[in-house]
């Protein structure tokens, strides 16, 4: 499907979605409550079949976090960017999509490690790179005082 037909199809499926302008791929912002349901719909609908998760990451926008997934279909060769906004900045929690795409399990562990975003129903929510008391370095308010040279 090209971008315009894909967008039409998505508009039939969802109600509260927002479509930001993106020249390259179709982009969609989904409310956090329907994020998991929408993702499994993307994978299982026969005309879309988004079966390959390229990357899953997060962006810190200082008052909220945004989960960003790049997903493509190995059969239809169309790509979509799915985003969801996590409003609770103090204790961000999102639904896991690791039951839909296995690779998400490790991308989500990385996001947890670097942003401190927890994922509900994740099979193995441990840190991936850093030690347990390190803090969350990719947050914009992160400072590592123990390694700073104080002048």
């Amino acid at each position: 499907m090209d971008n315009s037909t894909l967008r039409q199809r998505l508009e039939e499926l969802t109600v509260n979605a927002v479509y930001p302008v993106n020249k390259q791929y179709t982009e969609i912002i989904i409310p956090a409550e329907s994020y998991h349901e929408f993702c499994s719909l993307l994978k299982n609908s026969q005309d879309m079949l988004f079966d390959y998760l390229i990357s899953l990451t997060a962006v810190d926008w200082k008052d909220h976090f945004m989960i960003v997934c790049h997903i493509t279909s190995t059969i239809h060769r169309h790509t979509i960017i799915v985003k969801t906004q996590l409003s609770d900045y103090g204790d961000p929690v999102a639904d896991t999509v690791s039951d839909i795409w296995r690779t998400a399990e490790f991308h989500e562990r990385e996001v947890f490690d670097l942003f401190g975003i927890r994922f509900r129903h994740h099979p193995d929510m441990r840190r991936l790179f850093l030690e347990d008391d390190f803090g969350f370095p990719l947050r914009k308010d992160f400072t590592d005082e123990s390694r700073m040279i104080v002048k």
Binding site: Q24, T57, T74, R102
Partner: protein, 375 residues
């Protein structure tokens, strides 16, 4: 009390024998640790632990300007340094919507393929050495030296090039560039059959690789295993074909696909890819158009506010660069979807039920570069 501790340390949860492979094990080619649970010699569970070489490249990028970021990407997958550089350059050029000269695209594609051959040569010699065939190490490095000499002559560095800049190249290539590549192709065409004679048809090597670590197509897609490892399981994932960049849409080459999905298939895909890369080089080397080596760029590069994504095919799989810009000269957030990160975790599924010695063969055939996992 003491007995209890000893029991927990050695035997693990279910009375398995637990050993650590790494982080300083020679066959992991870097600082990666596998916690392997064994029953006898058979592997029951493999848990990879990474983070020993995590340098926070994504955080460092938030502080640096775009031309500076190029130098950090070298340090991720150091064997595909040129292709990593190109990924960021293409993403920045896409965001700025500038046309780069034809000459730049040709030279970049040629260097990509040279880099891919050099990387596969190093993989081949190291994999042979891991499995006990020391001769391969000398043969592989001997041939790789020829490519590194071309690199050194053209841009002064052998491993970490940083030759790409947003908009083009640092400087023009050496006058003898085309001649040296043609010399290399005719040399390596003679040497590649030796690789088959030495390792591919070797009985011991076959025994240790055929039917070992079989990866199905479904698992490859589910786990996001790309590159030669994915294509050995007939997962067609070559970004050069799907979303062509550079001049890949103008050259004829085959995407190598195999159906077996075992260690031998992953091995054979890489050997065939070296031939395909030479085919691409032959088509391009005589046709480099004259022109500038860089487009006109402003001294300070500011990306328009927005989000940009670029996929390229490195020697190990798909590299994705995701840049979020807020209009400043540094990115607001940058994410590298590195191929090795996704390729690593399949190992805890592939190795189950095989012998501990097969773990070396399987991790060798996945061709992991550890700094690319941790970033």
């Amino acid at each position: 009390m003491q007995e209890e501790i000893v029991k927990n340390v050695i035997l693990g949860e279910e009375d398995d024998y637990v050993i650590n492979m790494g982080p300083q094990h020679p066959s992991t080619h870097g600082v990666l640790r596998f916690e392997v649970s064994l029953q006898g010699e058979t592997i029951k569970k493999v848990i990879p632990y990474c983070g020993y070489i995590h340098r926070g490249i994504e955080k460092m990028c938030e502080r640096d300007t775009y031309p500076q970021i190029i130098h950090l990407t070298d340090r991720m997958d150091y064997l595909s340094a040129h292709i990593n550089n190109e990924a960021v350059c293409l993403c920045v050029e896409k965001a700025l919507e500038i046309e780069i000269p034809e000459r730049v695209s040709y030279i970049r594609t040629i260097l990509d393929e040279l880099n891919r051959i050099a990387s596969h040569q190093l993989w081949w010699c190291a994999m042979g050495m891991d499995m006990g065939a020391l001769t391969t190490f000398f043969y592989g490095l001997r041939d790789r030296e020829k490519i590194l000499d071309i690199f050194e002559e053209s841009f002064g560095s052998r491993l970490l090039h940083s030759f790409n800049t947003p908009g083009g190249l640092m400087h023009d290539v050496h006058p003898g560039f085309q001649k040296r590549i043609k010399e290399f192709i005719s040399y390596f065409r003679r040497k590649l059959p030796e690789y088959d004679q030495l390792l591919t048809d070797n009985v011991i090597f076959k025994e240790r690789s055929v039917g070992i670590g079989v990866l199905s197509r479904e698992d490859a897609i589910q786990y996001g295993v790309t590159g030669p490892s994915g294509r050995a399981s007939s997962f067609s994932c070559d970004v050069r074909k799907i979303e062509p960049y550079g001049v890949y849409d103008r050259v004829n080459f085959n995407e190598i696909l195999r159906t077996e999905g075992d260690t031998m298939a992953r091995y054979k895909v890489r050997i065939s890819e070296m031939e395909e890369s030479m085919k691409i080089l032959e088509q391009l080397v005589d046709n480099i158009p004259a022109g500038d080596f860089t487009a006109k760029m402003k001294a300070v590069i500011r990306l328009p506010a927005g989000e940009f994504f670029q996929r390229v095919e490195t020697a190990r799989g798909e590299l994705g660069v995701y840049i979020v810009s807020d209009g400043n000269k540094t990115p607001y957030r940058i994410k590298f979807r590195s191929p090795n990160f996704s390729n690593l975790f399949i190992i805890s599924k592939l190795a189950i039920g095989f012998k501990i010695a097969d773990l070396v063969a399987i991790s060798g055939s996945l061709d992991l570069v550890i700094p690319d996992i941790d970033r």
